[in-house]
């Protein structure tokens, strides 16, 4: 089975960020960059499919050079090869443009299933996976929490969390799947795996090689602008109550009644 997994490198969600004084974005220096959490689950899903059906797991990213580190993590987990696509024209590219570039790359590869994280934790956009499915003209299943592929590898049944329940969906492969975190438990890269990953190739591709016009991409992306990035409004300082339970309960009731007005 030919499995493609899309991987994005994002700032570590546990670390603080510094917003640039001009509000144009965050300070890039000193950032701890990691693999997008949901893409670890996507990579794990790909590796398990390979364990079952054989084949290859190819990691794919559309980001600058430093994202190679993120791809190397997936290679250390056990993926076979990785491709990184970049062009200066992609700075500030919108999500739909990124999806177009991914689609153009995937079209050059044999692909039976394309797996993405359901969103990336830097911007929570959740756009690329479904847009990618449209550009590839493949069926999609987003935010899947369970995946059962039939023995021939030609179709699957997935579970999606929807409001108030679980949708059980049959889908034909090839398809694009975006994954929710409870789909699986991603394996750690093993130490031998990390050392072996050094010997695996990360191919670098340009837009030109994919037949894409950088100018077109810039123009399409220009329609979406980040006007400014600001710190969230500070909440007014609250007050604390200590002491016995009865006093606490009285304070809570008063708060719910008089301030929050929900009682």
């Amino acid at each position: 089975m030919n499995i493609v997994v899309c991987v994005k490198q994002v700032p570590d969600t546990e670390a603080p960020i510094r917003i640039r004084p001009d509000g144009g974005g965050i300070e890039e220096s000193g950032l701890n960059l990691i693999v997008n959490y949901y893409d670890e689950h996507a990579t794990e899903a790909g590796l398990r499919l390979r364990e079952r059906f054989g084949g290859t797991v190819t990691l794919l990213g559309v980001q600058p050079e430093r994202a190679k580190e993120a791809l190397r993590t997936g290679l250390a987990m056990g993926a076979d090869e990785a491709i990184l696509v970049w062009d200066p024209a992609l700075v500030g590219a919108d999500h739909l443009s990124v999806a177009r570039v991914l689609a153009a790359t995937i079209r050059t590869l044999p692909h039976d299933v394309v797996i993405c994280g359901k969103l990336s934790t830097d911007d929570n956009a959740g756009i690329v996976g479904a847009a990618l499915a449209e550009y590839l003209d493949l069926p999609q299943a987003t935010a899947i929490a369970k995946l059962e592929v039939d023995s021939t590898g030609s179709s699957a049944v997935v579970h999606r969390e929807v409001e108030g329940g679980v949708e059980v969906l049959g889908i034909r492969l090839p398809a694009v799947l975006t994954v929710e975190r409870n789909l699986n438990e991603p394996r750690y890269p093993s130490l031998p795996g990390i050392m072996k990953a050094k010997r695996k190739e990360i191919k670098v591709m340009t837009l030109a090689a994919l037949g894409l016009n950088p100018e077109e991409i810039k123009q399409a992306s220009a329609r979406t602008r980040m006007v400014k990035l600001a710190a969230p409004p500070k909440r007014k300082a609250g007050r604390m109550v200590e002491g016995d339970a009865d006093g606490a309960v009285a304070a809570l009731i008063a708060f719910l009644k008089d301030e929050a007005k929900v009682l």
Binding site: I34, R72, T73, Y188, S190, L191, P192, M195, K198
Partner: protein, 386 residues
């Protein structure tokens, strides 16, 4: 001189940190309270390659360099010094001497099991009457046909309870001191080896510390490690590497104390502001950060010299000395910064305080490290004719 970690080292660090944070840290306090061996964690660590970090690929290891090992040990110790003790002993005091001094047969026979977690290693050098004066050990080994018969008592053996492969030092020659000692690979299943008293300790409680009794223990002839009467040299060479692992452990503990203190100082408010705003606290945090960085760089330097293939005794002793004293000092500061809460077991700093102490003692006390360093420094300055 490049002070940056390579991409590979960063990936190793991230992996070790994630494993330590997700798999070890949530259980660290409970393991310390119960004092139980973390069998599940050790098995998972083994599956990821943590028990044979620098063992070459051909024996199932990861073949990671000395700096990579330091990085890993620090991350594991940051989560639990007890768990990390088990790991570093297996790596530095058992896999390493077998790798360096063992025959092909011994390497093939023991390394894959030690790396995979099928076996666990322990190191039997210290005895009730010989600690710092290790080379005065009294356990004996005499040849009887195709076997060596070992007699004696070994004390303070880390993982003594759970280990099944033991590096045991015993006196084979008539010469006193280091020159009459040989090293043996002894399996627990050999007749005549048993676990004696299991110690209750101040810290690193989930790592077992036990007496090992040898009563006419029969060891096959092929299980001499290295050459006969070479044991003293093997012990000292092994300790050089072990000390780097302990230095890394100490840095992990110290860093844990610092990180917890930073978080606490930011959250704890007194006199209308976070205590992190007060100069006294800031100076403590600054000193902790500075000394930890210094200890870490000294430890990386020792690992680097080892990687060059030259003698690193002085560098390892310096690293172990500075790092262990930093850990104890930083843990002490950490408790103080936490105030009353630092004394309460709900907060982890009291555990760091108890765990840190051992780093100043085992694998050569700070006093011994100073002797080692002094000898090296004087010899370098004055030559051997002093």
């Amino acid at each position: 001189m490049d002070f940056q970690l390579t991409d590979e080292h960063r990936l190793i660090q991230a992996t070790a940190r994630e494993f330590a944070t997700k798999d070890i840290l949530p259980r660290a306090a409970a393991l310390d309270q119960a004092g139980t061996f973390p069998a599940e964690i050790i098995q998972r660590a083994a599956a990821l390659g943590f028990l044979g970090i620098s063992v070459p690929e051909q024996y199932g290891g990861a073949g990671i360099d000395a700096i990579g090992n330091v990085i890993i040990q620090e991350e594991l110790a940051r989560a639990s010094a007890g768990v990390q003790t088990i790991v570093t002993v297996n790596n530095a005091l058992v896999c390493d001497p077998i790798l360096r001094f063992g025959t092909d047969l011994q390497r093939q026979g023991y390394l894959p099991a030690l790396v995979s977690g099928k076996s666990l290693g322990c190191y039997c050098l210290t005895e009730p009457s010989s600690g710092s004066d290790a080379m005065s050990l009294q356990s004996t080994a005499r040849l009887d046909g195709e076997s060596w018969i070992l007699n004696g008592t070994k004390s303070f053996v880390t993982s003594g309870v759970e280990a099944d492969i033991c590096i045991v030092y015993a006196r084979t020659g008539t010469e006193p001191g280091a020159r009459g000692i040989s090293a043996f690979i002894v399996e627990k299943r050999f007749p005549g080896i048993s676990v004696g008293k299991v110690e209750k300790k101040l810290g690193i409680k989930c790592s077992s510390t036990a007496e090992i009794a040898l009563t006419d223990c029969r060891v096959p002839r092929g299980n001499v490690l290295g050459n006969l009467n070479q044991g003293g040299r093997i012990a000292l060479a092994t300790l050089d590497g072990g000390r780097i692992g302990i230095a890394a452990q100490a840095i992990g503990i110290a860093r844990a104390a610092l990180e917890e203190s930073l978080a606490y100082a930011a959250a704890r408010r007194q006199f209308g502001q976070p205590i992190a705003e007060f100069q006294a606290i800031q100076w403590s945090l600054a000193d902790m950060a500075t000394r930890i960085d210094a200890a870490r760089l000294l430890t990386y330097r020792a690992a680097y010299v080892r990687q060059q293939g030259v003698r690193y005794t002085r560098e390892a002793a310096m690293a172990k000395l500075l790092a262990s004293e930093t850990a104890m000092w930083a843990a002490h500061k950490g408790v103080q910064i936490h105030g009353g809460y630092g004394y309460i077991q709900d907060y982890p700093v009291e555990r760091y305080f108890r765990d840190a102490k051992i780093t100043e003692i085992y694998e050569g006390t700070s006093e011994v490290q100073r002797l080692v360093i002094a000898r090296q420094v004087l010899e370098a300055a004055l030559g051997s004719a002093r």
